[in-house]
């Protein structure tokens, strides 16, 4: 079967159009999840996951529409760096959200981090007698990075 150039052109244009609409719909799904989910952690889940696939689809559409191989490395760089950086920001937001108690405990089915944080706080309090055990609410935000930051300071 031979494919004449104009038919190939039409097929590529239709595929690019479908990919563009699908990528935009994935962005919209991220926004809907951001609006509808009840909790910081679930919102972070919705905000960070569909977008990577959406930007992959849109970059593919750009490559298909421009019909140029020179664009492929740039698109690859853009997508790989998105794959690398989105988990970093999601991890930092989730970490800060957990340490500042921005989550509803009743919605968690399992909380494995709780034991680790409690152990680190016990060790931290044992290393500095006198100030340990003062567990008022205001210290939570400051404790966000405390066990790792104060290692050399005190």
């Amino acid at each position: 079967m031979t494919l004449d150039p104009s038919a190939l052109d039409t097929v590529l244009t239709w595929v690019a159009g479908i990919l563009m609409v699908a990528g935009s719909a994935l962005s919209l799904s991220a926004a809907v999840g951001l609006l509808r989910f009840p909790d910081l952690i679930t919102r972070m889940h919705a905000a960070t996951k569909p977008q990577v696939l959406g930007s992959l689809l849109l970059l593919t559409a750009v490559g298909l529409q421009l019909r140029s191989w020179a664009l492929v490395p740039l698109a690859l760089v853009a997508w790989i760096f998105q794959l690398l950086t989105v988990p970093v920001s999601a991890h930092m937001v989730g970490r800060a959200g957990y340490r500042t108690k921005h989550l509803k405990d009743a919605r968690l089915s399992v909380d494995e981090l709780e034991d680790v944080v409690a152990r680190l706080e016990r060790e931290h309090a044992a290393r500095r007698p006198g100030s340990g055990g003062a567990d008022d609410g205001g210290a939570d935000g400051e404790r966000a990075g405390a066990p790792m930051l104060r290692e050399d300071g005190s």
Binding site: S6, L28, A31, L34, A61, Q65, T85, M92, G141, E142
Partner: protein, 95 residues
């Protein structure tokens, strides 16, 4: 512009504009409503990705490469803001 482009791309542009506009609106609503600082940071991240998606749609529909450097730059350094804010966030909510 080829024949298929003239047929397909106007409808695709309309659909993508509506979808991305609704996405940006949702992110802005979440940014205004809050309730916490981290929610606003997440919403601003989503808004940035929606913006880069709009740039990519523009490039694909009109067949130019004007925004490629901007796309690569956004994906490279777009995460710095939310990481910085998340690192220094304090809990000021009453409990």
């Amino acid at each position: 512009m080829t024949g298929a482009d003239a047929l397909v791309m106007p409808w695709v542009l309309v659909a993508c504009s509506v979808l991305l506009g609704l996405a940006a609106l949702g992110a802005i609503v979440r940014m205004v409503k809050g309730p916490a600082l981290l929610d606003r940071v997440l919403a601003s991240d989503v808004l940035l990705v929606v913006l880069s998606g709009a740039l990519m749609v523009d490039m694909a529909a009109n067949r130019h490469t004007n925004h490629v450097a901007l796309i690569v730059g956004i994906t490279l350094i777009g995460f710095v803001g939310s990481v910085t804010v998340a690192r220094f966030v304090q809990d000021r909510r009453p409990r």
